[in-house]
């Protein structure tokens, strides 16, 4: 069972929720898909770390075979190629690795080399196996790293997996939830939170994913996100109340479940609710 935790807005508690739910389970896998700013590993402090490089394919020309016909330059829709001074120039940051130039070259002068965009760290932390993706600063897209982590885990369908998603609803988020069985949307009680909850709500609906909401940092007074859920008839799986102690533990990168019985009980109960909804959701709404 793969459960994606997303929120639309940053700082609402995706990592708090996914890290603690993963820890509350008997055994689970945690995948940190926020490869631009990964935080899960700071909480889990994994051991037994194995690293793997993630690379994309970039073309290069064999000067001996290249005739300067420019078919590749003309084909590239991203303008990543130019022919000047008698040689082909490849702009690696712009190349999307589509392989088109290699296909169109009439002289077979183009081959592909690998260019590192980031790494994946696999590690262990008690009952949790983690996968953390790290995008190299300066690189524009974390999609290849997320793809690899999710793909590597496809074989482990039987395990309970929590996917900590990036904020927003753009291509990196889509990539993270693509194979999820159930989505947990975490929302904070602000108008920004409700506004962005709306966005990921649209996204999970579009992808036909069963989902439910966890309201985090709940305070007295009006909760715009709760109001949104009520208006849209969205299932609220659980609530986490604003709690100084929890906030402090979290800001010190401590896993609440592992620090105190109180939070262990709280998240165990939340986990039960999530699992119940997830099982119900996936039977009612079986994945295509």
């Amino acid at each position: 069972m793969k459960i994606a935790v997303l929120s639309g807005k940053g700082g609402t508690g995706k990592t708090l929720v996914s890290v603690n739910l993963a820890s509350a389970a008997k055994a689970s896998i945690y995948i940190d898909c926020d490869v631009e700013e990964p935080n899960g590993h700071l909480f889990f402090k994994p051991s037994n770390i194995k690293e793997e490089i993630v690379a994309v394919k970039i073309p290069f020309a064999d000067k001996a075979l290249c005739t300067g016909c420019r078919k590749c330059v003309d084909f590239c829709r991203f303008n990543a190629l130019a022919y000047a001074g008698g040689q082909l120039k490849v702009f690696e940051n712009i190349c999307h690795s589509c392989g088109g130039c290699v296909l169109v070259c009439p002289e077979n002068a183009l081959t592909e080399k690998e260019r590192t965009v980031g790494i994946i760290q696999k590690g262990e932390s008690g009952n949790v196996s983690l996968y953390s993706g790290f995008l190299n600063p300066g690189e524009p897209s974390g999609v290849p790293i997320i793809k690899k982590m999710i793909h590597d885990n496809n074989l482990k369908r039987a395990s309970l997996t929590f996917i900590d998603c990036p904020p927003g609803s753009a291509c990196i988020v889509m990539e993270s939830i693509k194979d999820a069985d159930y989505c947990v949307l975490v929302a904070e009680p602000t108008i920004f939170g409700a506004h962005n909850l709306n966005m990921v709500y649209e996204l999970v609906k579009l992808f036909g994913k069963p989902f439910g909401v966890i309201l985090n940092k709940c305070l007295d007074g009006e909760n715009p996100s709760q109001k949104f859920c009520e208006e849209q008839d969205i299932e609220i799986i659980g609530r986490i109340y604003y709690d100084n102690e929890l906030g402090t533990l979290n800001s010190n990168a401590k896993i609440a479940v592992r620090e105190s019985e109180k939070y262990k009980t709280m998240f165990a109960s939340l986990l039960q609710s999530v699992m119940r909804e997830a099982r119900h959701g996936t039977t009612v709404n079986p994945k295509r």
Partner: protein, 299 residues
């Protein structure tokens, strides 16, 4: 025009709240929201006029004419982005398609065409000041290009404005990189958590590689004094100008929730952000471009 960009690395640290305060305090004639994925600035900056909206076209998307399709499977095999499904008819998944044109090239039946695709919307408000923003259609890529369009739109609608405040997006990827272009200074809003510190380092590394002047402030500093001290020490070590700290303030949360600015009334956060603002402006004015505008008395 002097451009100040507000970034954080980590989400939820208070970029938009600080940006809103800065816009009020500076009476900036131009401001923009470059968090095109999840724009929020409009929620606390009420506008008097209607918006002018225009479609934003991303890269074209492939489309398959099933009438011409011979089901040879070349397209699906050649697609590096897993964007072609063959569950029933061969169809292109528009969310995965990157518009590279390889499928169109390999199709032996001429069944594939590349079609223009709207991937977002540019929004412009022009009244007393210019507010440029946009919304990326969900699941889209090309956010960097849309960010550039937001800036371009802001610049062309407010060519005479002296000072612009730009609210950035979380992360360190494409949209952030695009927003750094043209910025005279980046103000990082950090939060005192281990995650926040880790994320600050990554955004600093990203920003430094583009050679832009950096400043940093801490928001909600009193939720963890130890971490606050770590960040201040880090700034000294990394040579980043530290421009102040803002306390966690429940009144600020209330303000934002009612669509107000934290400078609209007297509160702890509001007072603190004024100090952060004046220190930031001082630094900006001392910078190369700032000297040109200093006499015009921004802030």
């Amino acid at each position: 025009m002097v451009q100040l960009l507000i970034l954080s690395g980590k989400g939820g640290t208070g970029k938009t709240t600080v940006a809103g305060a800065f816009i009020e305090l500076s009476a900036a004639k131009a401001y923009g929201d470059c968090d095109v994925d999840a724009p929020n600035l409009h929620l606390i900056m009420p506008q008097q006029t209607d918006a002018v909206k225009s479609d934003f076209y991303g890269l074209p998307k492939a489309g398959i004419d099933t009438g011409l399709c011979v089901r040879c499977d070349f397209c699906r095999q050649s697609c590096r982005f897993d964007a072609i499904d063959n569950d029933n008819d061969y169809t292109v998944n528009p969310f995965a398609c990157e518009g590279c044109g390889v499928c169109e090239y390999v199709c032996p039946a001429g069944a594939i065409t590349m079609n223009p695709a709207v991937s977002g919307e540019l929004i412009l408000y022009t009244n007393n000041s210019v507010f440029s923003t946009a919304h990326l259609k969900m699941g889209s890529g090309n956010s960097g290009k849309l960010v550039s369009e937001v800036k371009k739109q802001m610049l062309s609608a407010a060519a005479n404005a002296e000072f612009a405040v730009v609210d950035g997006s979380p992360g360190i990827g494409c949209p952030v990189i695009a927003s750094i272009s043209g910025a005279d200074m980046v103000l990082i809003v950090a939060e005192p958590s281990v995650s926040g510190i880790s994320d600050v380092k990554r955004i600093v590394e990203t920003s430094k590689s583009f050679g832009v002047q950096l400043a940093l402030c801490i928001n909600k500093y009193d939720i963890n004094m130890t971490n606050t001290q770590s960040i201040e020490a880090y700034c000294i070590k990394a040579g980043i100008d530290f421009v102040g700290k803002i306390p966690f303030d429940p009144q600020a949360v209330e303000a934002v929730n009612s669509g107000k600015n934290i400078t609209d009334f007297d509160c702890l956060a509001g007072r603190a952000v004024r100090e952060v603002y004046s220190r930031t402006v001082q630094l900006l004015m001392a910078g190369e471009k700032g000297v040109k505008y200093a006499h015009k008395g921004i802030g």
